[in-house]
């Protein structure tokens, strides 16, 4: 609530200042867009560029298409505000889900900046501008690394940044605190998850052709809204411990109470002459089964030939810990089927839920980026994904039988990205 109040205050302050001092205030408008056509060739699993968006297969002109608008408002010498809306194919279409930035910033000196309102995370190299296709090499940020990251890509809160030139390099340190609610859909139903007390520290150092970023983050998983999960946890809680001892621990692992997610990430970019090399690795630690502990990363190499850049990447994301094994309930001989059948079904449902959420996949892509005009880039990319059995946590899988199979998916994409 505190952070919701901050974002509201930031917007009201900006609006009041704009009306009161309109003569001295300067607003500048800009935007970005990507128009993309893509084809995902596997009918059993549905692709989505990130966790917040609709997943589907076959042809799509909306999957990676994006339209963004931004206002930069200069309020006074040391005060400014930025508001940014991004329209994309979100599964949840609440207006608030499209507001990416809405902050008020104060710069007390050239080294310090304090922002309050709706902010973008700088946990990863691309997480401040994942929607701006013009600004990066691929048609979309690497799926294994950025898909789940989208759930906490924006947050409501405050951050403080310190910047300093050091020898020939430039260091930026940032500390951020806030809350966010990831608004997703699962099986057509609203699935909202609160991430409370989100704290992030990042350090970025730029030296000539090198950019290095290290970040750590921690958040408490707060309330959620998902009727199916509610019902599932209630059923697990109703099972007497002697009948199925594991029910209680499964309930605790699916429930959001007392769950904390920790994250550490390291990113490196080398951009010199014709070569553009970028790599990131991230490790999460989470006992919450809905977003269990993972390791993910990618390496991308691009080579420029005048206005065309050829590139290729390999990416991986997989579970760090052993997958929870669901043991069947044990019954005394003669236990009536009215008791055993529902519990056996609940155990099977628990196993299906555990298996469904595990992430284990890797991919390789090749592509080309062509600078057509000063403000227009055309890209084409082919991704080949290999999803391991019980590893499709980042994909839409409607038939439970497909969870246990290995899947290979090719995604072909052509996109045009521009800034204006």
């Amino acid at each position: 609530m505190l952070y919701r109040f901050i974002i509201a205050t930031a917007l009201v302050f900006t609006g009041v200042a704009y009306n009161a001092y309109a003569d001295n205030i300067k607003a500048e408008f800009s935007g970005f867009a990507s128009l993309a056509l893509s084809y995902s060739d596997n009918e059993d699993v549905a692709f989505s560029p990130n966790y917040l968006n609709v997943d589907d297969n076959g042809w799509s002109a909306t999957r990676d298409s994006i339209l963004g608008g931004q206002a930069n408002i200069t309020l006074a010498k040391n005060w400014d505000s930025v508001v940014q809306f991004v329209v994309e194919d979100h599964a949840n279409t609440e207006f608030e889900n499209y507001l990416e930035l809405a902050f008020l910033r104060y710069r007390p000196s050239r080294n310090w900046a304090i922002r309050a309102g709706r902010l973008n995370s700088d946990l990863y190299l691309l997480s401040e501008y994942p929607h701006v296709g013009y600004a990066y090499l691929w048609v979309r940020p690497p799926h294994e690394y950025y898909s789940f990251a989208s759930t906490a890509g924006k947050f409501d809160g405050v951050d403080i940044e310190y910047s300093q030139s050091i020898n020939d390099g430039f260091l930026r340190l940032k500390l951020a605190a806030g809350n966010t609610t990831a608004k997703l859909k699962a099986s057509g139903e609203d699935f909202f998850i609160d991430f409370d007390n989100l704290m992030t520290f990042s350090a970025t150092y730029v030296l000539d052709a090198w950019t290095m970023r290290f970040s750590v983050s921690k958040a408490n998983v707060g309330d959620y809204k998902f009727q199916a999960l509610d019902e599932f946890i209630n059923l697990l809680n109703s099972v007497p411990a002697p009948v199925w001892p594991q029910a209680a621990s499964l309930s605790a692992s699916f429930d959001t109470k007392n769950q904390t997610i920790e994250y550490a990430a390291l990113g490196l970019t080398y951009d010199n002459d014709n070569w553009l090399i970028q790599s990131e690795i991230g490790i999460s630690n989470s006992p919450w089964l809905v977003a269990s502990s993972n390791i993910n990363g990618y390496v991308s190499v691009g080579y420029r030939l005048d206005k065309v850049t050829l590139f290729s990447s390999v990416s991986i994301s997989e579970n760090r810990n052993e997958v929870t094994t669901v043991t069947a309930p044990q019954f005394l001989p003669g236990t009536p089927i009215q008791v055993t059948l529902p519990l056996q079904q609940l155990a099977l449902a628990s196993k299906a839920a555990v298996d469904r959420l595990v992430v284990h996949q890797h991919s390789i892509n090749v592509g080309a980026k062509w600078q057509v005009l000063d403000n227009l880039i055309v890209k084409t990319q082919i991704d080949h994904f290999d999803i391991q059995p019980f590893g499709g946590g980042l994909w839409g899988i409607s038939d439970p039988k497909n969870v246990e199979k290995e899947h290979k998916v090719n995604v072909f994409t052509v996109s045009a990205s521009m800034v204006f």
Partner: protein, 142 residues
């Protein structure tokens, strides 16, 4: 946004310049800053700092897009061509960090803007230097 005729004339004129133009970085004559190091010019032109070292606001100016002069300036400053600089500024602008330099439509326009604003900082070929501005950095110096 841009006058196509002016831009074409400008581009034709700029194309006459050699690739290795000798630039000077200039500010308004009333600016208290008398000199900048190359790193301080980089800090301002790459959006790292929004002020001069004395804390006064800095408004960098660019020469026209897709001109050899702009490309050459950034190659000399940070070894990045205009294509890379455009992608860099898209990242900074849409991450909410900073706004890109204002684009002048010609060297004369840049000199006019420098003359009228105490906060402006620009770059021009040394052979087009006038008394209306103050040189704070020369590329042939270390």
């Amino acid at each position: 946004m841009k006058n196509p005729l002016l831009l074409m004339i400008g581009l034709a004129l700029f194309n006459l310049d050699a690739v290795s133009t000798e630039f000077v970085v200039v500010v308004n004559k009333d600016n208290a800053i008398n000199s900048l190091s190359k790193r301080e010019v980089i800090d301002i032109y790459m959006g790292r700092y929004l002020t001069f070292p004395d804390g006064e606001m800095a408004q960098p100016l660019d020469l026209p897009s897709e001109s050899l002069l702009k490309n050459d300036f950034y190659l000399q400053l940070v070894n990045k061509n205009e294509q890379k600089i455009n992608a860099y500024w898209a990242r900074l602008l849409f991450s909410g960090r900073a706004k890109p330099p204002i684009s002048a439509i010609s060297i004369e326009d840049a000199l006019k803007k420098l003359d009228s604003s105490p906060y402006s900082i620009g770059y021009i070929p040394v052979n087009q230097l006038t008394d209306a501005v103050k040189v704070v950095y020369r590329f042939n110096e270390n």
